[in-house]
C-alpha cells in the first residue's frame, strides 16, 4: 500500500523560487487523479475534463499550496470540488442518460483506453453510492487514506467520513453478495 499523504514535492522548486515543471507534475499525478475522478463521476470524458480543470486551477494558484498536507492531497481537494461541480451541472441539465450512451459508444471506439481503462468500473455498483461515499471509498481503498485524511479532501469532519465509509462498504458488500448469489443461482 502506498504511503498516504506523501508529499512528492513537485512544487519544491516554487518554494525555492524556481518554476515548477507543470508537465512533469501533470504526468506524475494524472493516473491517480483520473482514478479518483472516474470513481466519483463514473464517466471517462467527465473525469478527464474534471482532472484537466483541477490541474489548471492548481497550477494557476500554486502559491496557495502550503505544503502541509502533500501535493496529491491538495490536488484531490480541488479535484473533488470539480467533480461535485460536474455532478451539479449534470443534474441541472439532466443529460446524464445521453452522456452515458455517448460514453458507451466512445469507450467502444477508444483507441487509448484498453480493456482496463475502458472497463465499466463496477458502474452499476458505484451508482448505488452517493458522491461522498464514492470519494471516501476510493481514497480509502486505492490510496489507503484514513478518515482524517479523507476529511481534509472533502472538507468535512472525520466522523462524517467514517459514516460515509461505513455506508459505502456496507452497500458494496450487500451488492457483491447479491451478485454472487445471482451468479450461483444462474
Amino acid at each position: 500500500m502506498k504511503a498516504p499523504m506523501s508529499d512528492h514535492s513537485p512544487t519544491a522548486s516554487v518554494r525555492d523560487g524556481g518554476t515548477p515543471d507543470f508537465e512533469q507534475i501533470a504526468v506524475q499525478f494524472a493516473a491517480p487523479a483520473m482514478a479518483l475522478a472516474m470513481n466519483v463521476l463514473g464517466n471517462r470524458q467527465d473525469a478527464e475534463d474534471a482532472c484537466q480543470e483541477a490541474f489548471i486551477q492548481a497550477f494557476r494558484h500554486l502559491e496557495r499550496y502550503d505544503g502541509r498536507s502533500g501535493f496529491q492531497n491538495w490536488l484531490y481537494t480541488i479535484l473533488y470540488r470539480r467533480c461535485i461541480d460536474v455532478i451539479r451541472k449534470r443534474k441541472r441539465t439532466s443529460r446524464l442518460y445521453q452522456r452515458a450512451k455517448l460514453e458507451q459508444s466512445r469507450q467502444a471506439e477508444d483507441p487509448i483506453g484498453g480493456p482496463a481503462a475502458g472497463r465499466p468500473v463496477g458502474e452499476g455498483i458505484l451508482k448505488a453510492l452517493n458522491p461522498q461515499e464514492r470519494t471516501a471509498l476510493s481514497l480509502w481503498a486505492n490510496e489507503g487514506y484514513s478518515a482524517e485524511e479523507i476529511s481534509r479532501v472533502i472538507h468535512t469532519s472525520a466522523g462524517t467520513v467514517r459514516v460515509h465509509l461505513f455506508h459505502a462498504r456496507k452497500k458494496l458488500k450487500a451488492i457483491l453478495e447479491r451478485n454472487h448469489e445471482a451468479l450461483q443461482n444462474s
Binding site: 493516473a31 489548471i56 487509448i112 469532519s157 458488500k173
Partner: protein, 162 residues
Amino acid sequence: MRHCKILNFLFEAVPVKPWQDFLLRRHMERCPVCGAHLAGREEARRVLAREEDFRGAANLWPGIKSGLADPAAAPRSAGRPRMVLVTSAAAASALLLAAVLSVWLFRGFRAERPMPTPPAEDRFEMNYVRIGGQPADSYIYQPRDSGMTLIWAEKKIKGGLS
C-alpha cells in the same frame, strides 16, 4: 449477535452523524460480526477504477497546457458565489410568492364562508329528487331577501354533465 442487531437498529434509527460515528468507533469498527457485513479494501478495489488503469493512458497535458495558455478557459471558481446569489434570490422569491398566495387564499376562504343559516321556520328542505324513479340532479337557488326558492331538476346522464 443480538447486541449487534440492536446497535445496528439504533445506528439506522438515529441518522445523526456524531451519534453514528460514536457507535462506529465504540462497536462496529471493532466487532468481527459487524465487520463481516462490510466490504474490505480488496473487494472495493475490484469494483473501483485504479491508478494502474490510467497509467500511460491518461494524457491530460495537452488539454492542461492549452487551458493554462488561454485565460478564458480557466475554471470558473468564482461561479460559486454567483450560484449562492441566484439560489438566495430564488428562495426569497419563492417565500414572497408563498406569502402572497397564503394571503390571497386566506382572503378567498374568508369571503367564501357560508352565510348564517336562516331560522328553521324559513328554511327550505328537500330530501330527495327523483325523475322516473331514478335519482336526479337537482339545483336549488334561493335569492337573498326573497321568499322564493327555485329548483332545477334533471335526469342524470351517465358519463357527463347534462
